[in-house]
Symmetry: C2
Subunit: 417 residues, 2 copies
């Protein structure tokens, strides 16, 4: 119908950009709730991510109840401007309130399991796990309360995982002097199955990725190994360094020997900081990966920021990144920035090589952390790449959209092998 592709393109870049301006103003009007969310976030240390939490299995009513309990607490706060900075573990304290929500749902889950209501028990175990991961968020290793909550998240996740149609397997993978645990989710059927090794952002743990498998990969018969990035969760013993993909490499090698996995059909997928190793691993020719999906990953410019930009970053974001890198909160800018700069794939000289491994990039048009300009050298070096750009505000595309696109791309990729 009215295929005016030609007509529109004839007018060239200038016209296109004018159109974009008009469009984004229209959209601005439609998305007023973003601003409300933003204003709300100013009063919190943590990012208030209702959509992500609900996607992970949390009950929206519980979310509101817990946030209200924290916000209305009369107890002393570390920072009077931050609602979620109640100092003492107890009512109003971030970890306490989310952990309590988790404990309550865990109790229901156990009762449901005892009475043989398997589907209900499974759902509740994963729901409890979601409250525990929010309790431990951003998962700082020196926060004993958070670490205890994160351990509860693992136990709940594993309890839910035992009740899946194909029970969850916890796999222990050795790398160097240490080992880390990973979750292997298998689809139905005899196998061996194609596999995706997946990891997420620098403040997201492997217990938060079930939806990637259950909603998107399992229906296509693709297995998922969910791992923690170096420096977080059960990969906390490994500091996050410029070689961000070392654990992914170890995971791919380990999975090649797994009887339920088709060793010729293993891909890697990562979102946010997880998009960095997913891009980096593309250039490890000896690994013979089937493909990689890099979603809104910071590749270069985010690591090359100046001290001014650094000072403007939210406190929690910085706390999380410092923790992943093995720095204390008080690390000096010079020390931090030197290490941080080393993550730039361009500065690492990675793009001097070319890669034949198929690459899918999924991102948004104006991501503050993963700007489109960072993609240019990557897609030039990756000879077989496909880029999908969502017209969406903020950092990272909508989860269901990005994993739908990724899962179909992977299905097609694996069907050719």
């Amino acid at each position: 119908m009215l295929n005016s592709k030609t007509t529109a393109l004839r007018t060239g870049a200038a016209f296109l950009c004018m159109l974009v301006i008009t469009a984004c103003m229209v959209i601005e009007g439609d998305r007023h709730h973003f601003e409300t969310e933003e204003e709300e976030n100013e009063n919190w240390y943590h990012n208030i991510s209702r959509d992500s939490w609900a996607w992970q299995g949390a009950d929206p009513e519980v979310i509101e109840r817990v946030l209200a309990r924290i916000a209305s607490s009369k107890n002393a706060r570390r920072d009077p401007n931050l609602l979620d900075s109640v100092k003492d573990y107890g009512p109003g304290h971030w970890v306490f309130e989310w952990e309590t929500a988790g404990d309550q749902v865990l109790d229901f889950a156990r009762k449901a399991e005892q009475t043989g209501e398997t589907a209900r028990a499974r759902k509740l175990f994963f729901e409890a796990s979601s409250y525990y991961t929010t309790a431990s968020y951003p998962h700082l290793k020196n926060d004993a309360l958070a670490m205890r909550a994160l351990n509860k998240a693992r136990l709940s996740y594993q309890a839910g995982g035992r009740l899946l149609e194909v029970p969850l397997q916890t796999v222990r993978i050795r790398h160097g002097q240490h080992a880390f645990n990973a979750y292997l989710h298998l689809p139905k059927g005899p196998g061996p199955h194609p596999l995706v090794v997946q990891s997420m952002g620098s403040d997201v743990v492997k217990e938060q990725a079930l939806g990637v498998f259950s909603r998107h990969l399992a229906p296509r018969g693709i297995a998922m190994l969910s791992i923690d990035m170096p420096g977080i969760g059960e990969s906390g013993a490994f500091p996050l360094t410029a070689s961000s993909d070392i654990l992914h490499v170890a995971a791919v090698r380990a999975m090649r020997r797994h009887p339920s996995v088709d060793g010729d059909r293993i891909a890697v997928m990562g979102a946010s900081f997880g998009g960095h190793p997913a891009a980096r691993i593309l250039f490890r020719k000896e690994l013979s990966l089937a493909g990689s999906v890099s979603i809104c990953g910071p590749l270069d410019s985010a690591f090359l920021m100046e001290e001014d930009d650094y000072a403007k970053l939210p406190e929690m974001t910085l706390d999380a990144v410092k923790d992943r890198l093995g720095f204390s909160k008080e690390v000096a800018w010079e020390q931090f920035s030197e290490r941080f700069r080393s993550f730039s794939l361009a500065q690492q000289g990675i793009y001097g090589q070319s890669a034949e491994t198929p690459l899918l990039v999924v991102t948004t048009h104006a991501d503050p952390v993963a700007p489109l300009s960072d993609l240019k050298p990557l897609v030039q070096a990756a000879r077989n790449s496909h880029t999908v750009i969502l017209y969406e505000q903020g950092h990272c595309p909508d989860k269901d959209v990005r994993y739908a696109v990724a899962a179909d791309w992977l299905t097609d990729l694996f069907s050719r092998l």
Copy 2:
């Protein structure tokens, strides 16, 4: 990682738009092949859509060979500036060359079928069908040669369909004084299956949609009924009017009685002009549709164009639209525009109602036919809507991306019913 959503949003609309400008200039550089394609299209009456043809099953080498034969023909042309305007049916003639390519592959397909190579035969039948639909494109009803090629496309498609794991069913559906044929593709398994009634643009026929089913719907266990829009193909007896969704309504009603279809889980999906009925049908409360997916559909502004814009549209686009509306090539602007204006959903007063039926919109950020501004009244009237915008040039998002997103949305929708 570096969740700067807050930071970026704080800067507001102006900053966002600046980012967009930068981004689209960068992208311009990457997409230089678009311009090449555009320049090439100036020399052709037909849109040269290599990607779409290949997606449909055509062999890229055959595409180039046929285009070269047409372009290098020494025979007399209707318009010396249009390579594909050779007048006489024979070497160099658009229909002749594509039809010949189809005949050759059809011959291979039959031989493969005779020797029991079912998978190869199936692939070749669909490949032949793709050359025949390109031969008949844009499927003008008064072009006897095109109509003969389109009939061959149907026969090849049906021959391929008989060899599918679940054989294709051709369903005859009555509406008013006439009837139309539709293709029912069922997924594996006992059923009854959820179903999507799908249609495409004003110059695309139901034989061109197999990939929607085989690549995206079948793996999720969703059936597809592929229909021709009014005014095209086997729905040619019905003129395309402002009530663009009449055949979709008839199809939904007919499918409710089909033993392999779950009558409570029927949705509609349409792309390009097919996005118009997919939006319109949302407001037919009595139909109790499960949901609708409207992809880059013209809703309003495209129908309200002025004579100047009309004069700038490519000849083939206009020929196709006039044919669908039942007009001759020579129809006067006044007569055409009066009818065309009646398609505007805003002018039809449709948005005075509200709709509860779930709606998914998938579109691009700067579609010349489906601008984002057209969406505003639609998503305001549709109380349960979700919009996914791809950052992509031209009319309509990449097929595999849009159907991946749509299929996962439908899977989720059907799982709740």
